[in-house]
């Protein structure tokens, strides 16, 4: 009896599974394969795109650049549009994985994305040939106004012994070294061994003062008043401020990392036309606004910025800082395998002390 039930269940499940594959004729204009970060797009915009263009969107998600790269490189599934981060785009360009964009086919991209974001993109995409910025942000210090009573203007406050065991640092090689190198006045894309060793020593000095090296836990810890200072991405800062009004975000005077996630088209894409239509659609002001509301990370789309209704957000120094005011803003470059190995070795030294 039990066996019959089990068998019956199995057949039901397989039948139900197979019944899902009959909807081919809703989309007369083909498909587009999109590969993006998790939770990085408003699903409604995908529905709108499918309705307007008749192109079916096959959407896939990844969690880090590093797990995305082998899949695109191996050509397991030929994605038409991918959204990597700055340094990863440069690595993909160097390894001949991307194709140059035909800007005539994506008019919204040139018209609606601010020129300053393209300037910053030159750090990893010289000549702006491969990438269209999608989301961007800065890295800065989030501090709790009730626990820190002096003005926060410099990375050096993270070395202040007053805040021992109340400091949160990023648990990622390049982000950690960015703080170290910037506070010494060096470039965060430095490959100079002397500079890197200086940064390493500085970070080892800081280690006893650090409460924890975290990634996304920094959000919840700061909201819960567990730490006074934390290094955080600007996109998270707005969310944390909403949950805990005692928090304040600031970009230190030495400068920081301006990160940009952009749309690219891989060389082995099969639906290039549809890919261009997709990117062009995402660069529309109203669509970018929908995505901004959903993701809450800053959008480089000036048309969308103008459409934001809430004055506080539109003029927010966190979401849309005036980049010309700051010195020392840089974007990550891909440093090559040797430099990466050096960074990794030094990071291991810091972590193991």
């Amino acid at each position: 009896m039990k066996k019959l039930i089990a068998l019956g269940l199995c057949t039901c499940m397989t039948a139900a599974l197979l019944s899902g594959c009959g909807s081919a004729n809703k989309y007369p204009n083909g498909k587009v394969y999109v590969y993006n970060w998790g939770e990085y797009i408003d699903p409604e915009t995908l529905d709108m795109f499918e309705k307007e263009t008749g192109i079916q969107v096959i959407y896939d998600e990844f969690d880090t650049n590093e797990t995305m790269y082998p899949k695109v490189e191996a050509g397991a599934s030929n994605y038409d549009v991918v959204c990597p981060s700055d340094y990863m785009i440069q690595k993909m360009i160097d390894n001949d994985l991307l194709q140059e964009l035909n800007w005539d086919n994506i008019p919204n991209a040139k018209a609606n994305i601010g020129a300053q974001y393209y300037e910053h993109s030159e750090a990893f995409d010289p000549g702006n040939r491969y990438a269209v910025p999608y989301c961007w942000g800065t890295v800065g210090i989030l501090y709790n106004k009730t626990m820190v009573d002096e003005p926060v203007t410099s990375w050096s406050i993270l070395w202040d012994e007053k805040y021992a065991d109340s400091i949160l640092m990023q648990d990622s090689v390049r982000d950690l070294f960015m703080v170290g190198l910037k506070s010494l006045g060096y470039s965060m894309n430095s490959t100079d061994e002397k500079e890197l060793n200086e940064a390493k020593d500085l970070l080892i000095q800081q280690k006893p003062l650090v409460q924890a090296y975290v990634i996304d836990q920094v959000r919840d810890k700061m909201i819960g008043n567990e730490a006074a200072l934390g290094v955080i991405y600007s996109g998270e800062a707005i969310f944390t401020q909403r949950e805990n009004p005692d928090l304040e975000y600031v970009i230190p005077k030495e400068g920081t990392n301006v990160w940009i996630d952009s749309w690219v088209i891989p060389k082995n894409a099969e639906n290039v036309e549809n890919a261009e239509k997709f990117i062009d659609f995402m660069c529309r002001g109203d669509i970018a606004l929908l995505n901004f509301d959903y993701i809450t990370y800053s959008t480089p789309n000036t048309a969308a910025q103008a459409l934001i209704e809430d004055d506080d957000i539109r003029n927010s120094k966190i979401a849309f800082p005036d980049l010309s005011q700051y010195d020392g803003l840089e974007t990550f470059s891909y440093l090559g395998d040797d430099a990466d190995a050096l960074y990794n070795d030094l990071w291991k030294e810091i972590k193991s002390k």
């Binding site: 397989t14 998790g38 959407y59 969690d63 810890k221 909201i223």
Partner: protein, 257 residues
């Protein structure tokens, strides 16, 4: 004295095991998205969960792949154990060695090598590739569970059945099969669990548009995991708990009668 110490020890172990799950269950009712603040009791995550077609599809895929792959792996694994019984010792050792490789390997090695194999074979990535990958890494667990039971078997019972007039199939199903059934069941359950749990191999062998729960949850790490996932995990936990209670209750009733 010893009794009290035993009870305290067990309680501590249970707290250690279940504290994370209980926290998760609390957070699934938390109105605030943040893990640090309690924003009030709410059922909205449960409602949103059942309206979210993507998560439900991922759940469906996960269960279907787990069930199918563990069933097929159990069949293949059991047959393999049968065959190994009648092999020369040297061949058996070789086969056991090969079987152990996927278990000892780092999963990322298995994942990438399967991905490259599928590319070489020109297969289109999708549900089928994930299924094949899961069957592949499940077979060793089944073999590992069934082998010991097989070894314990008295080979003469099978031959006695043949002598008494049974065909080979009849002899297998009526004599051997009931004896190794516990091994097969535990192998099946292990395979099912490993398949439900798997992320990295699924990530590398899946095609666009197909997601399992683990790949869906991992991709949300950068932005923060949606509370709908807490709701889903709570439901799964409660369902499994109920099933276990049911399964463990009924036999006792039967034997009491």
């Amino acid at each position: 004295m010893r009794n009290a110490a035993r009870k305290i020890y067990i309680t501590l172990i249970f707290i250690f095991l279940y504290a994370p799950i209980v926290t998760l269950m609390f957070l699934s009712f938390n109105a605030s998205k943040s893990r640090a603040k309690w924003g009030g009791f709410t059922l909205k995550w449960y409602k949103q969960l059942f309206q979210n077609a993507e998560i439900l599809q991922a759940l469906w895929n996960t269960l279907a792949i787990a069930l199918l792959s563990s069933l097929i792996a159990t069949v293949i694994g059991t047959v393999a154990c049968l065959a190994m019984q009648y092999m020369k010792k040297r061949n058996r050792t070789i086969i056991m060695g090969i079987t152990n490789i996927p278990m000892l390997n780092a999963e990322i090695v298995t994942g990438i090598s399967l991905m490259l194999l599928f590319i070489v074979l020109g297969m289109k990535f999708g549900f089928l590739t994930i299924l094949l990958a899961h069957i592949t890494f499940n077979i060793p667990y089944v073999i590992l569970s069934v082998q010991p039971r097989m070894k314990q078997l008295n080979p003469s019972t099978y031959e006695a059945a043949l002598d008494l007039g049974a065909t080979q199939l009849q002899a297998f199903f009526k004599v051997t099969f009931p004896d190794i059934l516990p091994g097969i069941l535990s192998g099946f359950l292990m395979a099912f669990t490993m398949s439900l749990d798997d992320f990295i191999i699924t990530h590398f062998t899946k095609g666009p548009g197909i997601d399992t729960l683990s790949t869906k949850i991992y991709t949300e790490v950068k932005k923060g995991i949606k509370p709908e996932m807490y709701a889903l995990s709570t439901i799964i936990f409660v369902v499994v708990l109920l099933l276990l209670l049911l399964v463990n209750h009924t036999p006792r009733e039967k034997s009491a009668k």
